[in-house]
Amino acid sequence: MAKESPDVVEKAAGPVTSSTAEAVTPELKTTEKPKPDTSSKETGGEKTAGPEKARTAATKVAETPAQKGNETKNNPETIAAAANKAAERQQKNTEARTPNEHKGFFSKLGERWNKMGWKKKLAIGAGLMVLTLGGAAAGSTLVMGAGWLGGRILSGLGMYSTIDAATKNLLKNNWARAGAAALGGTIYAAFVPKIFSTLDTHLDLTGKMTGAIDLSKQAGVAAGDTLNAVSKETGRLVDDYGPKVVRGLERASDLAKEVTDKYAPIVTEKLGVAAHSLGSAAGAAGEQLQQGFEKGGEYLAQGAGAAHDFFSPTAQMNSTLYPVYEMQSGDTIEKVLAERFPDVQGLSGPAQANRINEIVSLMRAEGMPMSGGELDLAKVHALVESSPMSIPGGATEGVISHIEQTMGTRDFDKRLGNFLFGNSIILENLPPNTANEPFIDVLQAGNPELRNLSTGLRETLLDLVHDAKGKPGYDELVSMVGYKNGLLGESLGATIGDAKTGEQPLKSVLAGVTQWKLANGL
């Protein structure tokens, strides 16, 4: 235990031995414990003794072993002398290992060391020794030491100042504190954290906490430094490149403006031309469309009319073949019929006159108006058709003329002729046909009664349908001739009735029927 002395005096004596005269590092002065010196005035702190006293003390230490021999090995003076010699020898050993470039440094270190009071050296020694300890000894300091030592780290070693604090703590028998305080105020303060960390390792709980706090603090400081560095670097980058970016944008803006100024008129012009072209094209297209619509309208109108006529043979017949004629002044019924009634068209003069007379008689019998106003030729036709009167020849000429015009009758073969008039009165009148004789010739040669062609053909077809009933192809035939409810289709009837103007429908129907008959062996 340190001896409490109000007059603590350090021996700043010369070397214990003279063998270190050549040493670079000043010999580490003896740590001989100061003796009470009543002649020294108490200062409340360490005092440095004069050289003379130090030498005396050193001599005393050196002489002690020789005077007392082996029996005095526990003599304090002998022990002190041995300790000093050991220290001296160790110092020399270290010097021998010290590179020349470090010897100046250690020389200054030695000078400082020698100026220290012995209590401070004692405290440092205690602190160093802690590093060599572990287990129970270190653990025993937990309560009093660890927390305090950890706190010392965080307080930056500034809580206690050097030797005074070390002395005070040492005098209070607090070695750990004394060591830490002493170290904290010296050039060896760097070792203190090592001592403390060693203590932390052994002292566990509190030490780890303080260690963690310390690490956190260090990490915080490091992070702060890093953030500062990053912030500075970012600022530098902004400073360096910001103007460049701005200049780049300005340049880009200028370029964009140049391009706009240069090409905008051209683009405008081109767009104008294009617009004009488009306008012209649109106008032309509009005209074309208009014309197309107009033409289309015409076609549609025509088509509609044709379609109407086609699908309405009766109406066509009525309106075309047998229109309503507005009787004009000077018109006679005979004259109108001769000129406008198809049923008498193609008849020769006398035959036509006779036929007209018959029709007029029928009309008169029916009470039909025959002068002034409207003459409905369709009604006249219906009247004629329903009349049993026999019309003498003359129709043959018109029918043949029609066939020649519309059906290419020179191409008709005998088979068609046979078909056309088969099972009919016409057929009965046909002469034997020779191969490939022109049909028209056959007709003309063999059938003077063709004036009843339409009626005969209709009857022939009706008979054909009747005979075909129950046979294969019946439905096809019915569909082909437009048979329904005992009557032929209007189209067929109209075609037949339209001896002059009928075109494709008659040809198609006849051709189809011919094929049908041939296919069914008829």
Partner: protein, 108 residues
């Protein structure tokens, strides 16, 4: 456990490590104080040898200026497990001192 007892245990451990446990208290302190100087010197040299040339100079300047934080940073920078290293060096130096001390004492 009181502070006094803790301190007594600590002192006992220290003096046992130093080989002076059975000596009079005054002598124990004498020996401990004597050992501190050469131990510090030896450990300091060991640390210097671990530093780069530049850091050696920085270490010396910091030591002379008493800049403990700089010293610590240099140690941490150059010595990976500095605590273990310093502890080992201290033990080594203390052991050397103890050997020399015992020799001197036996020859006394």
């Amino acid at each position: 456990m009181s502070d006094i007892l803790d301190q007594e245990i600590l002192k006992k451990e220290i003096f046992e490590a130093l080989g002076v446990a059975k000596m009079p208290p005054e002598s124990q302190e004498e020996v401990l104080a004597a050992a501190a100087g050469p131990v510090i010197q030896s450990v300091t040299l060991a640390i210097l040898e671990k530093l780069s040339a530049d850091d050696q100079n920085a270490f010396k300047e910091a030591s002379e200026a008493g800049e403990s934080e700089t010293i610590e940073k240099l140690i941490l920078k150059n010595i990976p497990d500095s605590t273990a290293f310093i502890s080992a060096e201290v033990k080594k130096a203390v052991a050397e001192f103890r050997t020399l001390f015992e020799q001197e004492l036996s020859e006394a």
